[in-house]
């Protein structure tokens, strides 16, 4: 019935041959711009690249890129949202944020993303060397900064109740982990331990945008002060002042210091800052863009009562020009923030730790034990800012030190953290909405909600939402 010619038979045979010719390699295609974790963390040089990734994470818009330094002032009494605005941070200006808040979720996400990046550097099985120690030391410091940021925004302060709920601790990568919240004390213990390791491992100062031995120590001073451990805070701050090799900002170089968007290698003032460079920056979403009146936003401006605390001769006053907002003429002239003026090219960086703060910590930590020490350290700052010298005593001296701290560190995200660790109410001027002028320490919105997204994905944290949310 069927007669095959040899050609026909060959056709069929070739076809059958085709069926079995599928090569395995044809289906093995590698991604062009990524590596497997083994490939990416194999050598000393790889660790440096992965470490930079951790620093780059700090620059996220809802971390040190913008939101963290913003919240520290707008949730307090330094900056307020002008009535002509682009709707950014309205809910923080008004104290109406909820569990689905985008900025709160952003802080949480970015914090733990940075922690994963740091964890992977810390845990990478690379043979030890001086450079590996330096990189791992920096990673410990980055991780400590991330936890220190999270614990202060998502939990009540250590000075309130160390046994209270803190934030979950993640030290190794496990995609399926669903950790509950650790206690505040456990998180602070981890932060201090990380900073001790960072201090011991690091030997090199690279530049102001990377952690160094004394930048880690400076962070530790701030952590101790936040915990209310004045003895250790003072010791750590003085270690930085005396042994760090950093030089102080003076009245002469104050203006040029703040005008620059560049990272520093001269060890002037900046202990650690998060860098925004000419390519990797947040553009419209940059910290400078929401303060500067030179761009399109300039939404957040200086509260009148805070501006009034500056002495006429205080050189810091120049950082707050009184101008009409150019995007909305012909409005009235008001004090605005010009601490981060660079909104093109190499954008202004976010200052995280400065040598001046070490003097402020030393001054505050000297009280009430040693008022002369406190006056020495605080007037070290006032003299360099052409501000009136402080000569008060007792509780007034503490208030004066805190007021000086407010003036020096304004718009660097510090003020609200001070009011939190001191368990003080937020009392704001009439620049703020009537319903949000007095925020008692007891108000549930004094800390952020654990994001709904985390509660949804992690059943072990679901019952641990902050009360009130």
């Amino acid at each position: 019935m069927i007669h095959f010619s040899k050609y026909k038979l060959l056709t069929v045979l070739v076809f059958v041959g085709l069926l079995s010719s599928c090569k395995k390699e044809f289906l093995e295609l590698n991604p062009p711009t990524s590596l497997t974790p083994d490939q990416a963390l194999g050598t000393e040089a790889d660790l440096l690249v992965a470490l930079r990734g951790a620093y780059a994470g700090l620059r996220g818009v809802d971390f040190y890129g913008r939101t963290i330094p913003i919240l520290g002032d707008i949730m307090a009494d330094n900056s307020y949202q002008h009535s002509l605005n682009t709707n950014r941070y309205t809910l923080y200006n008004n104290y109406t944020f909820n569990t689905t808040d985008g900025n709160a979720l952003g802080i949480w996400n970015t914090g733990y993303t940075v922690i994963l990046r740091a964890n992977n550097v810390i845990n990478a099985p690379v043979p030890t060397s001086a450079k590996v120690d330096q990189y791992k030391g920096e990673a410990y410091a980055v991780r400590a900064l991330a936890y220190f940021t999270l614990i202060r925004y998502f939990a009540r302060p250590y000075t309130d109740n160390p046994a209270g709920l803190g934030v979950p601790i993640s030290l190794t990568y496990n995609a399926d982990a669903k950790p509950p919240r650790s206690t505040v004390a456990e998180v602070y213990a981890l932060i201090l331990d990380d900073l001790t390791k960072a201090y011991a491992l690091m030997t090199t100062f690279t530049n102001s945008s990377q952690f160094s031995k004394y930048a880690a120590r400076a962070l530790q001073a701030k952590v101790y002060l936040t915990m209310g451990d004045k003895t250790n805070a003072k010791t750590a701050a003085l270690d930085v002042i005396n042994n760090g090799g950093f030089t102080s900002l003076t009245a002469a170089n104050h203006a040029t210091y703040w005008a620059s968007g560049l990272i520093r290698t001269d060890k002037l003032e900046t202990l650690f800052e998060v860098s925004s460079d000419a390519v990797a920056n947040l553009a419209f979403d940059a910290l400078s863009y929401i303060y500067s009146q030179a761009g399109n936003y300039g939404d957040l401006v200086v509260s009148d009562d805070f501006y009034a605390t500056f002495d006429a001769a205080d050189i810091r006053k120049a950082l707050y020009p009184v101008v009409p907002r150019p995007a909305n003429p012909p409005g009235a002239a008001i004090p605005t923030v010009n601490k981060y003026p660079v909104i093109t090219g190499d954008y202004s960086d976010t200052k995280v730790l400065r040598l001046s703060e070490m003097y402020l910590i030393a001054a505050e930590a000297s009280l009430p034990a040693s008022e002369p020490d406190a006056l020495t350290y605080i007037n070290y700052i006032t003299t360099r800012r052409s501000a009136p010298a402080i000569a008060s005593t007792g509780t007034q001296l503490l208030e004066d030190v805190l007021a000086e701290r407010r003036r020096e560190l304004a718009f660097e995200g510090d003020r609200y953290m001070d009011l939190m660790r001191l368990k003080r109410d937020v009392v704001r001027s009439t620049n703020y909405p009537a319903a949000a002028r007095n925020i008692p320490y007891s108000n549930f919105r004094r800390i952020l909600p654990i994001p709904q997204t985390e509660l949804d994905a992690n059943e072990n944290i679901r019952t641990q939402q902050n009360p009130g949310f």
Binding site: K8, V12, F15, S34, G53, T96, I115, T453
Partner: protein
């Protein structure tokens, strides 16, 4: 190996064969009305021997003695098979739209008689695709096929179109069908990277398409294996027919405007805005000084009252021209065409131009060998504005920009300064650039060789090549480029996809009397798609508006190039057993391997089985006159969905997390070595029945699709450093019914009335999820026992008449309310984004030379979310942005009963936050198409040497009914059913002319 095959082809080409004992058959082909059809194709079944009819519809053809049937077809008409008897003369009628069982339809890797089908297959003919004011064929599918939902998200010409066939079966992986153009699975969708929306299919001229076949069930789809789960759409381009060369010229000119506007959402004018803003400042407790300062900052009293909505919307024009020629002889046929299509959107800065060409050649060196070549090319220039919350989006500016801010200064120059932080989109549409140039070449070359009379080998190499060049320029003076002193982007994207398919077809009578037939196929296919992507960006431009390319920028900020690839390697087989044309059984199997899947799960097997019973062929049915056709079908099988990222299974570290312009790396993907396709198991039961000599044709299908091992982005605890990981987990089900009715209530010499109706109902349910946990999905919830894309929102309870506060319910029974948003009741299920019922009703009337066609598209039972409503209707939230007229319904004094709260500058108690207030019913009926046409009489045409001339006037989307008076935007807002300030959907009025000569 490929060389061997080429050699083989050369050998095959050298073999020729001779047939003897031919006989001649003659006849005439006419249409429904008895008019002769010139140029109709006549082909001897099972061969490539054919001819075409003369101008008077007559034909003459030599057929071999073994020939059993002739197949007749003509463009725009059905195909018909006539069994050859002892007669040598036949009169054949081809009708425009009938569900004739002898019709031949394109199916996977082949064609099939409708009699042989066991599955659910629907076909759309050229006449319903051609000359429409739509930029791509996927847009023409709306309402044409029961169970195929084709939804626009944007009125941008060239916008991507979402297609869902029998519901949505995947949560994370792709939900759109596999498109197969002339046998080649092609890359489709939006491949652009700078445009807000684009569509690879927009480079394909719908006028080059002969038919579209939609494969909806296992029996028809499963041979496409791991990519069949969302359905398969087979597109067949036009080919030449032997006979006189026929030229065709088609043109259409039209104007478009907004299809839907709601007067309750008119942006306020200056006096209305300042009145309500003053009220809001008073309600805020502001002092008179603060009120005055704020108002003056907002431009109060500057005498400007500019209408941004009028400024950014416009009447768009639209035109298309298509010219084609086709013809040939028994050995060689050709089809050539060229087309030009221009469409402007209803918003400034929105347009598309296409130039396209198509060539198809077939040649038969001898009766054993058939060669085919086709190449389809299209070039599109598209300009699309930004969408959503971008300040450069003209639609956003029409709702957000204050009427006190004009686009122009008093001296006529553009206003760049006093815009309240927003952008002057009127100026930017002139100055800034956002272009896409998209060029596609799609083609294939194939050869069929008859090894034996009943055994055919076919090899086909097909490819599609898409190039996208995108340019964007943001000027240094104003807008998105101001912060970087001007910036420009140039992106180049290239997709090259090739497919090599080899099949053996075997047809055999299994019994001596020919009652039992086998039609079997065995195939091998390999495919690889490679994308090549480069991105350039620079900034710091010279202070001019003329230099717009990145080379002019002083500071390069992006210099990237990368690739992205996937490959498939597959074997497949299928068989159809037919007993006396009464009982048909079909089966298919395919083994797919893909680069996209984990090392532990690279290969999978997929299969289907189907049966059908042509009841009308039974002896006992011959007595029942009024039933002309009756067929029962059932099929079941397993296929897959491989539509995820190319490297999803690999745990990865990505680069580009740079710091101080030095390289930085970070974990970028969780990965899973077990990752593989999700399984789709469709069960289909259908019936085709025709009454009264096919005057009434009904097709009804019931189906159930179970999707298992869903490719799901499982949310992770964010403390891991990742948001989600793709895993094979979860189970979802779609069940539904489809009904298609075609009826000819009146069929006369001068008057015909044809009714086409289709209906689809789909019910989706998520059966299992990892750990049974809910997965929040924006405004939706992914929850066991609930349909996918179900809105999940706090329930708005209206306004407290006493004080104007917004209220939300705190309990599921909706008895208690609160004015404090966070402690308000947890969110509740609040309706679905996808319709419960949809379909269309088309009436076609033919009276002598006149024709009238009207298609109503209906869509019921879904909801649409107003994404940006909080800003323009948020009771004072976004106080510095304009508001819409519905805000005038706000609460003003104690006792007012309304649903808009008291207006407080900067917002009233989170009213703007997500709630059911922002959810509107999506039910609509739309006059999708209405067309009145006139065909010139044949005797007149012959005098002016034309074979056909047809004039028409058409309206598209002319009338829309919506159920919800508060629906702010067009009811068509994509499959997520959330408005995003896109280019408005157009309605179009056009006039057209079709000529053939």
């Amino acid at each position: 190996m490929r060389k061997v095959v080429l050699l083989l082809m050369a050998i095959l080409l050298s073999i020729s064969h001779i047939w003897a004992q031919q006989r001649t058959i003659t006849g005439k082909v006419t249409d429904d009305k008895g008019a002769p059809i010139p140029g109709a194709s006549v082909i001897v079944k099972g061969s490539n021997t054919g001819t075409s009819t003369a101008a008077d519809g007559t034909f003459s053809i030599s057929v071999p003695p073994k020939a059993k049937a002739l197949i007749f077809s003509a463009i725009g008409l059905g195909e018909k098979e006539i069994t050859i008897t002892d007669n040598s003369t036949y009169a054949v009628t081809l009708s425009t739209k009938t569900g004739d069982m002898t019709e031949v339809v394109v199916v996977a890797y082949s064609t099939s008689k409708k009699t042989d089908l066991t599955g659910a297959v629907s076909t759309v003919k050229a006449v319903d695709i051609e000359n429409k004011p739509f930029s791509s064929i996927d847009k023409t599918l709306q309402g044409q096929v029961a169970g195929v939902q084709s939804v626009a998200g944007s009125g941008q010409p060239g916008a991507n179109q979402a297609i869902l066939i029998r519901g949505v079966s995947s949560i994370t992986a792709a939900t759109g069908p596999l498109w197969v153009l002339d046998g080649v699975p092609i890359n489709t969708g939006d491949a652009s990277r700078l445009q807000t929306t684009a569509n690879l299919l927009s480079t394909l001229n719908p006028n080059d398409v002969e038919s579209i076949t939609v494969l909806k069930d296992a029996a028809s789809q499963s041979i496409y294996g791991s990519r069949a789960a969302n359905g398969v759409i087979l597109v067949t381009t036009k080919k030449g027919r032997a006979g006189k060369t026929v030229f065709r010229f088609d043109t259409e000119l039209g104007m478009s405007d907004l299809a839907y506007e709601n007067s309750r959402y008119r942006p306020l004018n200056a006096s209305e805005y300042f009145a309500i803003t003053t009220e809001g400042l008073v309600n805020l407790g502001a002092t008179q000084t603060q009120i005055n300062n704020t108002l003056s900052g907002l431009g109060f009293g500057n005498g400007v009252d500019y209408n941004w909505y009028e400024a950014v919307t416009r009447t768009g024009t639209q035109q298309q021209y298509n010219l084609s020629a086709q013809g040939g002889n028994e050995r060689t046929t050709f089809y050539l065409s060229g087309g030009h299509f221009i469409q402007e959107g209803t918003t400034i800065n929105s347009e598309l131009k296409r130039y396209s060409g198509n060539i198809r050649l077939t040649h038969k060196p001898n009766d054993k060998l058939n060669l085919n070549f086709n190449l389809n090319g299209g070039a599109v220039n598209q300009r699309a504005p930004l969408a959503g919350g971008a300040f450069g989006n003209p639609v956003l500016s029409s709702y957000f920009l204050l009427p006190s801010r004009s686009a122009y200064n008093p001296d006529g120059s553009y206003n760049f300064t006093s815009l309240g932080g927003l952008h002057n989109t009127v100026a930017l549409s002139e100055i800034d650039k956002r272009f896409l140039r998209e060029t596609s070449l799609r083609g294939s070359i194939s050869g069929d060789y008859k090894i034996l009379n009943n055994l055919t080998f076919r090899t086909a190499y097909g490819a599609d090549y898409n190039i996208l060049e995108e340019d964007q320029y943001n000027n240094p003076l104003h807008g998105d480029g101001a912060a970087s002193n001007g910036r420009a982007f140039a992106y180049y994207t290239r997709y090259y996809n090739w497919v090599w398919t080899n099949t053996l077809n075997y047809i055999q009578d299994l019994t001596k009397n020919g009652d039992l037939n086998l039609n079997a196929q065995l195939g091998y296919e390999s495919q690889k798609s490679s994308a090549y992507l480069t991105s350039v960006q620079s900034q710091d431009f010279p202070p001019t508006l003329i230099l717009t390319y990145p080379s002019a920028g002083a500071r390069p900020t992006t210099a990237q190039a990368t690739i992205s690839e996937y490959s498939f390697s597959s074997m497949f087989g299928s068989a159809i057993l037919n007993y006396k044309n009464r009982y048909v059984a079909s089966g298919s199997i395919r083994r797919d391997g893909s680069s996209r899947f984990g090392a532990n799960n690279k290969y999978g097997a997929f299969w289907s089985a189907g049966v059908s019973w042509n009841v009308d062929k039974e002896n006992f049915m011959q007595a029942i006159e009024f039933i002309s056709q009756l067929k029962l079908r059932a099929s079941y099988g397993v296929n897959g969905n491989a539509g995820i990222g190319n490297y999803e299974w690999l745990p990865l570290y990505g680069y580009g997390n740079n710091y101080n312009q030095l390289p930085g790396s970070a974990p970028s993907n969780v990965g899973d070595s077990n990752l593989t396709w999700e399984l789709n198991k469709p069960l289909n039961i259908g019936i085709d029945v025709s009454f009264l000599k096919n005057r009434i044709n009904i097709t009804a299908d019931w189906y159930q699709r179970q999707s298992e091992d869903l490719l799901l982005n499982v949310p992770l605890s964010r403390t891991t450093g990742f948001a989600s990981a793709t895993r094979n987990i979860g189970f979802m089900e779609n069940k539904g019914v489809e009904l298609t009715i075609n009826a000819i209530p009146v069929k006369g010499q001068n008057f015909n009335w044809i009714v086409d109706f289709n209906f689809a109902h789909n019910k989706n349910r998520i059966r299992t999820l990892p750990g049974g946990n809910d997965i929040p999905d924006g405004n939706f919830i992914i929850r066991e026992g609930v349909a996918y894309r179900t809105f999940y929102l706090r329930t708005y309870a209206g306004v407290d008449p006493a004080n104007g506060d917004p209220l939300w319910y705190t309990d599921p029974s909706h008895t208690a309310t609160t004015s404090t948003y966070p402690p308000a009741a947890t969110r509740e299920l609040a309706g679905n984004a996808l319709p419960k019922y949809f379909g269309s009703l088309t009436n076609t009337l033919n009276f002598k030379q006149f024709s009238l066609e009207a298609q109503l598209y209906y869509n019921f039972g879904n909801y649409v979310y107003d994404t940006w409503g909080g800003y323009y209707l948020g009771a004072g939230f976004g106080a510095t942005f304009n508001k819409v007229s519905r805000i005038m319904d706000r609460w003003q004094k104690a006792g007012d009963v309304t649903d808009i709260p008291k207006y407080i500058y900067n917002g009233n108690k989170s009213f703007q936050s997500g709630s059911t207030f922002w959810l509107n019913k999506g039910d609509f009926i739309r006059l999708r198409n209405i067309q009145l046409g006139y065909t010139l009489p044949k005797d007149f045409l012959s005098k002016i040497k034309l074979t056909n001339a047809f004039f028409y006037v058409r309206g598209t989307n002319l009338w829309t009914w919506v159920k919800d008076e508060n629906l702010p935007f067009d009811p068509e807002q994509g499959t997520t059913s959330a408005s995003n300030l896109n280019v408005f959907i157009p309605k179009t009025v056009s006039v057209g002319l079709n000529l053939a000569f």
